[in-house]
Amino acid sequence: MSGDGLLKLDTVTVRRGGRVLLEDFNLLLRPGHATLLTGPNGVGKSSLMRVAAGLLAPAAGTVERADAALADEHLALDERQTLGRALAFWASFDDVSATPGLEAMGIGHLADVPVRMLSTGQRKRAALARVLASNAPLWLLDEPANGLDDEGCERLEKGIAAHRIRGGGVLVASHQQLALPDAETVALG
């Protein structure tokens, strides 16, 4: 990855099921910056997020990115495990401790509760806690505020702000109003 950005999409075309969602899309995310993707449902925000994560190959163009952490609609935690253990599984891959993420999202008291017992908002906090605990410089957040209450949104905003101060970058796709100071807004569609 060249030194000038955490994420660089160069003339990217995103195609899903034979339909072109985005064409010649360019994006550069620098350390300390945040980019907010907006646009109506189905315009390709989530697909773009998966392209940025490297989970979906772009139909054309190139994607360069630093190490990334992703929070999307999939929780990716084992339902039968306790929240603490389930997050520790991923933390061991990232060589970090899961506890700071749990505390930052205000779900430290749920560490001994099985994942299947968590509510929608608690699940969302758990997915974000994994991102907050990771030391990846690039955060990819797909609808991070879905299901979060005001207090959860505040914690998320605080986490993002701290990450940007550390020199991290954040790509957010959201319909909710999140306080992202000086964020570049990219309207799709």
Partner: protein, 213 residues
């Protein structure tokens, strides 16, 4: 890699998922004497082959729990994001799956052989065949599980895909029991099993990448 194998073993142990193939195997072994009658010599002659059939069908049971839940819950996405290749994930799953399937099946073959009145040397050949053949069976389950992971109600399709591919294992596994080690059945069983073990992670890896689109 070790963490993935351990996770696989934990998933197999939780909720008794690993017990299902064993119970199924033993059930078939129990039912077979009812079907052919309590004729000792006949049972001893046909029992080995019947147990191989039971092992084959038992291998089919975990096919829908190997990849489909991880694909749906985003675990495979998160692993890919951390730079783990799909083939590595598949290899870890193969190791974890065999550990939760092969040795327990070999253990279950002991009471099953008693139900079939198999003589001692036949039991030994059955165990040897299972030791060599179960990695191949596990690899088949893995490959087919990955290929059908994104599909709804994939059980019947998985059976249609898996059972024909298992024919070499069945032929040489049963042949080993029938003719003993001299006929080369063990070597051929090993070759078939190795081929499946070597190929399955790549098939599964490609299938997982295709399922992501």
């Amino acid at each position: 890699m070790t963490a993935l194998i351990l996770r696989e073993l934990r998933l197999a142990a939780s909720g008794g998922a690993a017990l299902l193939p064993l119970v199924f195997f033993l059930l078939v072994a129990t039912l077979f004497p009812f079907a052919v009658g309590p004729d000792g010599p006949l049972l001893a002659r046909t029992g080995g082959g019947a147990l191989w059939m039971a092992a084959l069908l038992a291998a089919l049971l975990p096919v829908d729990r190997l990849f489909a839940p991880d694909l749906g819950s985003g675990v495979l996405d998160q692993l890919a994001l951390r730079g783990l290749g799909e083939e590595t994930v598949a290899l870890a799953k193969l190791a974890g799956h065999w550990l939760s399937f092969g040795p327990p099946l070999m253990l279950a073959a002991l009471p099953a052989a008693a139900l079939m009145k198999l003589p001692g040397e036949v039991l030994l050949r059955l165990e040897l065949g299972l030791l060599v053949g179960t990695p191949g069976l596990a690899a088949l389950t893995l490959g087919v599980g990955a290929l059908t992971a994104g599909l709804r109600r994939s059980g019947a399709l998985a059976g249609l895909l898996l059972l024909p591919l298992a024919v070499p294992l069945l032929i040489f596994g049963a042949g080993l029991i029938e003719r003993g080690k001299d006929a080369g059945a063990l070597q051929l069983l090993g070759a078939a099993s190795l081929l499946l073990v070597a190929g399955a992670p790549f098939v599964a890896g490609a299938a997982l990448r295709a399922a992501r689109d």
